[in-house]
Amino acid sequence: MSSLSSHDSKPKHDLKIHSDAVVCHESKLRGDITIGTHTVVHPRATIIAEAGPIVIGDYNIIEEQSFIINRLSPDADHSKQVVMEIGNNNVFEVGCVFESPKMGDQNVLEVKSHVGPNVEVTNGCIIGTGCKLRGTEVLPENTVVYGRDCARRIALDRPPTQGLQVDFLSKVLVNYHHLKKPRSANT
């Protein structure tokens, strides 16, 4: 994490939080991060933009101890910035690790799952509890990864969106946590 310090020298207002987003103060955000509307970031969640900016879309839920990192790989070209893009309506459950630069919409990363830097997550995918994907691949839409051997199947439809849960969290979290002040992306 030594490479972080160079980015840290930049002022913290790289952080862009959309006005309706709920980002708890106890979360750990480093580097150039954009968080879209209605996205909920729980306390103790970690998002680190090391190799380049992270852009998170709308209506995502990022739970406790989840870890999203745009990692700077040691042999990568340092001059080129890699943007990590995360779409809308995704759920990052407790303790998941996400390193891939690309994620579409309506995906679920279940508890303690791990998505490596070379796995492209499209739309409607579910990475099951404890499943660790560290190879190189593009997950087709609606893929479900489950079980000890990371077996795959294609679901009929996408997992349901968590609209109600987002509403609930945005009401409740405010009562018990300090929030990071929203700083609109366009101001």
């Binding site: 579910i126 479900v144 489950y146 079980g147 077996a151 199947r153 294609i154 679901a155 009929l156 997992p159």
Partner: protein, 499 residues
């Protein structure tokens, strides 16, 4: 608490010769012997569904083929399915312009997200989905019918065989059983029943007639050829089932994922353990599936002194070192401990056995004459095994006469920190310290040479007194008796180093 469940440092030798930690053993209070999961008789107590926690009587469980009738397993990943509800809008049949919302239920797996919709099963209107609509189709039902016919045939053939044998035997035995049939109301079937004989067989001629109707299978010359499209059509692995998925449904063993149908959930059992020698229960759980308590739980941990390794000095081949073991008394009575070397114990055992066998021979002679063996079946036991562990260290034990007494377990004393270590005056010097029902004892251990890098295992026999509160069946003496029991112990002290 991990030392309770994971410890394999101190091992007790069970009566059957298995080495286990004390937490994995039972103590039969009637035979006064250690028992383990291997040498007790396991019995199925009750059947229950682990999902809905409903108990099924064993007769019903047998009828339902050990399957719960309300819960289902996912055919894809073999976990339990959950019921999910949705609202669908249905157009009113009377008034097409009106749209009614209706609650519909389907089953989904939260693990692999398989749903009954994947199998093309329609959503159900009620929450408790019956599997009537889901039962497997044509293919196997014809098989079942055929098997029923074959079973009937096998049964008739078996009867025929028995008939022939009875005929053969009849030539030599007097036919006394028909003598009463002339009495009113007494049929031959009745007589057979009273005589304890199986019901009379149908006449062999009728059996042969029925058998003649049977149609044996016909072999066919034509076989299904390999489908030509297999050479051209691309394979989608997502559509083909895996071996575990096929074997989960042995009758059908579907090849394609679309044919996977939810399976009734397999039941679980509650089991009780019984001592094989005296047939008393050593463990019996409560009937209620949600209860984790036991009606009877004779764990060795409640009766036999527990031994823990406290410290061990540097273990070097051929050099003396100090090993401290902690002994604690779990029972409600004081116990006296003494130590005997394995060799001495073996000799003692040998002497006892020769006595025993002569006793046994006498008894057997008696038994044969009084026919007492009819009342109780003989105890079937596997012969005890030799101990599989190799002792690699010599331990210097105090003389067998030297004893230490441990006070009974007192739950309140657990929280009493005042008297940290008080040695009683008459303790020998090898007792390091004691507290409540525990005492730490120091031993001198010499690891054997030539085992560098291996584990240093010491073994000895712990002799302890035990208060037997169960009167022996013969005696009228109801007083608790004090008995001395031996148990072989093996302690893994650590790795033997070279320097």
């Amino acid at each position: 608490m991990s030392y309770l469940s994971k410890s394999d440092i101190v091992k007790y030798a069970c009566t059957c010769g298995q080495l286990k930690s004390i937490t994995n053993m039972y103590f039969c209070r009637h035979c006064l012997k250690l028992r383990c999961g291997y040498c007790v008789c396991h019995e199925v107590d009750s059947h229950y569904c682990s999902n809905c926690l409903e108990i099924l009587p064993s007769a019903e469980a047998r009828l339902k083929k050990n399957r719960c009738q309300t819960c289902f397993d996912c055919p894809n990943c073999l976990n339990t399915l959950a019921v999910r509800g949705t609202t669908v809008s249905v157009r009113d049949p009377d008034d097409p312009s009106k749209v009614n919302s209706q609650k519909k239920y389907y089953h989904a797996c939260f693990f692999c997200r398989w749903t009954t919709r994947d199998a093309g099963l329609p959503d159900q209107a009620v929450q408790t989905v019956s599997a009537n609509g889901w039962t497997h189709k044509e293919t196997n039902s014809s098989n079942v019918q055929r098997v029923t016919v074959l079973l009937e045939r096998a049964r008739l053939l078996g009867t025929l065989e028995r008939h022939e044998r009875e005929q053969r035997e009849k030539k030599f035995t007097p036919r006394s059983r028909r003598t009463f049939t002339h009495l009113p109301g007494v049929t031959s079937a009745h007589v057979r029943k009273r005589a304890g004989l199986p019901p009379e067989l149908p006449a062999p001629s009728t059996i042969k007639d029925t058998l003649a109707e049977f149609q044996p299978a016909v072999a066919k010359e034509s076989v299904n050829p390999l489908p030509e499209e297999i050479f051209t059509k691309a394979v989608n692995l997502f559509e083909i089932t895996t071996m575990p998925q096929r074997l989960a449904q042995p009758e059908i063993q579907p090849v394609f994922c679309v044919d996977l149908l939810p399976a009734y959930k397999h039941l679980s059992t509650k089991r009780s353990q019984r001592c094989r020698e005296c047939e008393h229960n050593v463990s019996k759980p409560e009937l209620n599936p949600s209860s984790t308590k036991f009606k009877i739980q004779q764990a060795a941990y409640f009766h036999v002194p527990e031994v823990r390794l406290v410290t061990a000095g540097a273990l070097i081949g051929g050099k003396d070192t100090e090993v401290v073991l902690l002994f604690s008394n779990p029972s409600q009575h004081p116990t006296t401990l003494s130590f005997i070397s394995l060799r001495e114990a073996e000799e003692e055992e040998g002497n006892k056995q020769t006595e025993d066998t002569s006793d046994l021979a006498d008894q057997q002679g008696e038994a044969a004459s009084s026919l007492s063996s009819l009342t109780k079946p003989a105890v079937v036991l596997e012969e005890p095994r030799p101990i599989s562990i190799k002792v690699t260290g010599n331990v210097e034990l105090p003389s067998p006469d030297a004893e230490i007494t441990l006070p009974p377990k007192d739950d309140a004393a657990e929280y009493d920190y005042s008297g940290e270590t008080h040695k009683s005056h008459n303790d020998p010097k090898w007792v390091m310290h004691r507290r409540a029902n525990k005492a730490a004892v120091s031993f001198t251990v010499t690891p054997e040479t030539g085992f560098t890098g291996k584990r240093c295992v010491i073994g000895f026999v712990l002799r302890y007194t035990y208060i037997n509160r169960i009167p022996s069946p013969g005696s009228f003496d109801q007083k608790p008796q004090e008995v001395r029991l031996d148990t072989r112990l093996f302690v893994d002290c650590g790795k033997i180093c070279s320097k």
